[in-house]
Subunit: 382 residues, 4 copies
């Protein structure tokens, strides 16, 4: 068969944990779903040692493996550096990739603080390469619908945002220390989960001007490893709450918890506008509740909209409405967006600059918790 050649891009994946595997699945699926300008080719996988890397490469169908991320970055077959390594490696790898003039796809949190995130965003700008950060919940078609509803004025001018991301994976006091509890790695409930709700808040409501937060460490000591008797102090937050003032004049609350017993995916918001409201929880990720104020008397209420082909790009996954997307599908859409940007030489979204802006909000919440005062977010107002 005479097959038209589509350009390919060699993927260099660093890390093979939850997110590394999730990226690999997305690379595998994406070309079957979308007509991409450039197709990902799983070339090289790096992990901390050769055995891990080799095993992962085999499992995730990468052609080669290495224990040397610098070698991966330098490899001429690699066109995209994909960072799912531990957070402390995000910056050095990204800088190396920019030095090599290569685009970067990085998991969140981009950096442990806004200073480093900003430096990374500056370096990306200087290198003139495409970047993307894995805030995958933004890629849910229902989220695009929410944004369309807001930007189209369907609920009037948004006046309030009530957001939370709560899960319970650290609810057990016996859950041990890990990178998650390492502040230098960007650990803590606010950084790990709060960044998702901040990302959503910005996506839907626009810039956040200032915040007033309160962080708390409920479990003050944790085992140094799973099952260990020895414990050491926890220096990151378990539960953080914040007030937020948006540039638009709207205001709202933000909350992050990894102690929320019984919650496994409560990434949720309620947005009220002057003429309607929308309500969402990722727990039912294919549904959006919409109320508009001009309904007929006696027939008013929230309408539960279910994702379908009317909500792009759901139709690429399934031609029938209501059949539902899952978690991995959002990551596949994220990779679709990245491949599209790479193919068109355009900016991807959310890029390092946006991740920096998100981190500025996180940092401001942390700072305000320390001082007890409202704190300006800084960033660039975008």
């Amino acid at each position: 068969m005479n097959r038209p050649s589509r350009p390919e891009i060699g993927i260099g994946l660093i890390g093979s944990g939850f997110m590394g595997r999730s990226h690999a699945l997305a690379y595998r699926s994406v070309a079957g779903l979308f007509d991409l300008p450039v197709v990902p080719r799983r070339v090289l996988l790096a992990d901390m040692d050769s055995a891990t890397a080799e095993k992962a490469a085999r499992a995730l169908d990468f052609k080669r493996s290495t224990d040397d991320w610098q070698a991966l970055v330098d490899d001429p077959a690699i066109g995209l550096v994909d960072i799912t390594a531990p957070n402390r490696l995000h910056a050095p790898i990204a800088f190396a990739a920019f030095n090599a003039g290569k685009p970067v796809y990085c998991e969140k949190p981009l950096a442990p603080d806004a200073g480093q995130a900003g430096a990374m965003a500056d370096a990306a700008d200087a290198a003139g390469v495409t970047t993307m950060v894995g805030f995958n919940y933004l890629k849910n078609p229902i989220m695009a619908l929410a944004r369309e509803i807001i930007s189209g004025g369907e609920i009037g001018e948004p006046v309030s945002f009530r957001g939370i991301h709560a899960e319970d994976y650290m609810a057990d006091p016996a859950a041990p220390h890990s990178w998650r509890t390492d502040a230098a790695s960007g650990g803590g409930a606010l950084a790990d989960l709060g960044s998702h709700i901040v990302a959503l808040a910005r996506f839907l409501m626009g810039p956040i001007d200032s915040v007033q937060g309160r962080m708390r460490t409920v479990t003050q000591n944790r085992p140094i490893a799973a099952g260990a008797a020895e414990t050491s102090p926890v220096t990151v937050d378990d539960h953080t709450i914040a007030l937020a003032s948006f540039a638009s004049g709207a205001q709202g609350t933000l909350e992050a918890s990894w102690l929320a017993a019984g919650r496994t995916m409560q990434l949720a918001f309620e947005i009220t506008g002057t003429r309607g409201s929308i309500v969402f929880t990722q727990e039912r990720m294919n549904e959006l509740k919409l109320h508009v104020a001009d309904q007929r008397r006696g027939r008013r209420g929230f309408t539960t909209i279910t994702a379908g082909p009317d909500h792009e790009p759901y139709g690429a996954f399934c031609p029938a409405p209501g059949h539902q997307l899952g978690f991995n599908d959002m990551k596949t859409i994220e990779v679709r967006d990245l491949m599209t940007a790479l193919g068109n030489g355009a900016a991807a979204w959310p890029d390092f600059r946006e991740a920096w802006r998100i981190q500025c909000v996180i940092d401001a919440i942390a700072a305000s918790s320390a001082t007890g005062a409202w704190t300006s977010v800084g960033a660039d107002g975008a």
Copy 2:
């Protein structure tokens, strides 16, 4: 038939609006449902003019009517002064009742500020009479269940509270000024609705130490009357958000809005503890969701408990579970509690003192909004 005489108490009801009527219905219903130590007798209804009072007395089945609340307070047939009059009259009527040595049942908000509320509570103490304030949502049997679950340690130690009371009765910018928008009357979303979620927070989580709030007036001018072209500035809040720090160490968010398009009764909370969680919304007032951490693997989740005879005093209304109570039934339980207290010469709950404590939280939220700083609640720490 030889009927045993049960003591009766003569009710003097002041006001016949939404709440006045609701009280009258509760007086009518309560004796049929509960075996009370003292039975309310609808004797005298006062309203602002004779015609209104007479008409209301007829509709609500009070024996007599008057346009003079002082006469009502002084009437020897009156054993309980029930205040559902405009907020600015709460204090003068209550003081008069205390002077007359009579117990008082008053709608919320008790007073426009904590200073006045405290003075009223002090006067009640000095008079040694029973008082009760109409925070009727506390009387839902599901709320007693929630408190029992918490106090029994079923969800461990509570660590977070996420509370809101949002409705939409002022969402329309054409909704005119009224006592609701009069700060001197205790108006505003925080006072009108926020007081309910503060009351619930205190009921379930204990004292609030300090708060940091933000109040906003979204609709800055409203018609001076329904349909009027002339407008005047709004001096109360439409939407208020706050962080709260509890004496227990827990923390949480509080929110009040009367602009929440599509919401008609979102008095809701989520409480997370170290070993479980509960979730409630008054929108489904007969249900409580409970998660406890020690569930069997693969069978974990939130259980939706439906109110039934196991949840006192549901059984007085209906012997069959799941058949559901309604809004008016909560007011009836409130009156049951008040009659029981009066009959037993005991304190009722929530009394003027509790209403003062709630108002202290409201005032602290307002003060913190003005200063931008965390503000101690003051009160008495109870």
Copy 3:
């Protein structure tokens, strides 16, 4: 005060169990809520013995008591005979009342079979008195809304009905025999619960022409009394399913179960029409889900309508939407309707004739279960 005299009607209540008490509560509440043409006066309560009757009269605030229902019927002070006595007494009491020319209010099931129900309806017609049967779920304002939606063509022509009434009060095999398990008393899940869903089906969909049912007794022996070791066979159904063909051409399923573990009030239906659908469960009695076909692309879904003042007579209970009615409120609306009919000399609804039609459906289901064949409902086609 010069009070206008409203006509009163003396109530003679026979029976003081769950339903007797529910009626008494409704008599007590109704006049405070509605401006009635005739007001119920609780005069005389009859029960099986003097002590029970006297105690109940006191508790339910009836003036007098008796152990002789015939005396009650004959009492000149009694203007309405209210039958909540055991089912086997429905017919004799009703006939006596008709002989005395008095209107009758009777709990369902009216009679153990359609023959007797028809005779009772004929007698009512002959006597020319008002009758009403206590299918109280029809009185939910949400049900009137459902009917209005259908009759207004909002969902097009109804094509399917999927109805169930399931509870679990007999799920425990140790639940003993009672009138509920006595076929001669109109016992069984179909008669006790199925009659409610048949009543709803008729109310919303019109006449049922023919049915094909299947009845099953799952627990074949039950203790003869609570805690008794001795058991005897159960001769009524625990669980019945049926297909139904409506006169309109629509078709649907009907189900009744008192074994449905975890269900306490699953009186539920889904109606699909050619242009929309409605979905309801009494478990959330203040909500109706409505879908209409002509919604905007990308915004389609079911709207959850919450009961409010737009849905008559909700506003009589509460001026604020979403605040919710409860189980007892439906009985109060039923009594409102009865008083209105009595005051206006009009027919009440559902009357004995309607109860007969419902019973004809029940009987046809039972007959079809015995023969295995589709069975015509008979009745009068109305």
Copy 4:
């Protein structure tokens, strides 16, 4: 890198519509998720003409294409014949594959009637090859959980099943004729949707002995093509209801509709057992509601279990609970099961024999609708 060779099986896919594409996606994804004994290799795609086939092969990443399904069956590179062609081709292709000694993966409905389905199952047995039919909803991990709950006796002995599959893709009377409305192709709501709920009923409740159904064609004429003015009669059902008697003694209702306005994926059931209940709808495919009878007083209710790694094979998709699978993931699990069976030389499930049993139920419902009598399912009682 030294990569261990895993056996591959060459896939010959016939058809490239909704299901063909869904299969192709599953082949692509499955090897990245599971450690399979044999790995699918997308070799040859057949469609009705060369151009369609070639375009589809390119889009779905098959190496070659053809317009000749017989050539595909005969191709030595093809180890699995995958039939997603129009229903009328299922039998000839399957027989050809069996002649060639090749396993077959076929979409449902397997055949337009049980006679042909049985002949196909017999031929598969005679050929001794593995078969599988695409009842993908059975592959939801939540369904395995439901079966485990039942088989482990957690809800006692099942006594009732209330099942439905309703969607609305033919609700519009202007929806034209297609294979869906062609009875000879196995069209109609019962065959297309009802087969899924029958499959679920059998999976969870065991064999169905006899049925009594009623089929109705609501829209009696449809355009002969999209937008055509000319119409022709519809000879298949739009809406079918049935009673079912299970071999276990349980009974229940089955319903299929493609006219259910507003429903896009209501594949739903409620199962009541003697000691508990489960409730499911594919509309929320990651949730199962479970009630067990021995809960603590005052804490009873349905628990909403959310799919997670405790529910195999969810964990292969995502290590975190509550993050949710989607529609395509079920098809991937189906292919996992097929590859596992092929690799182990074992029977897959549901195979042609099971599809025949499902078809026997469908046929019996149709026959009973015609005769009005209860009809034995026949089949083999398994």
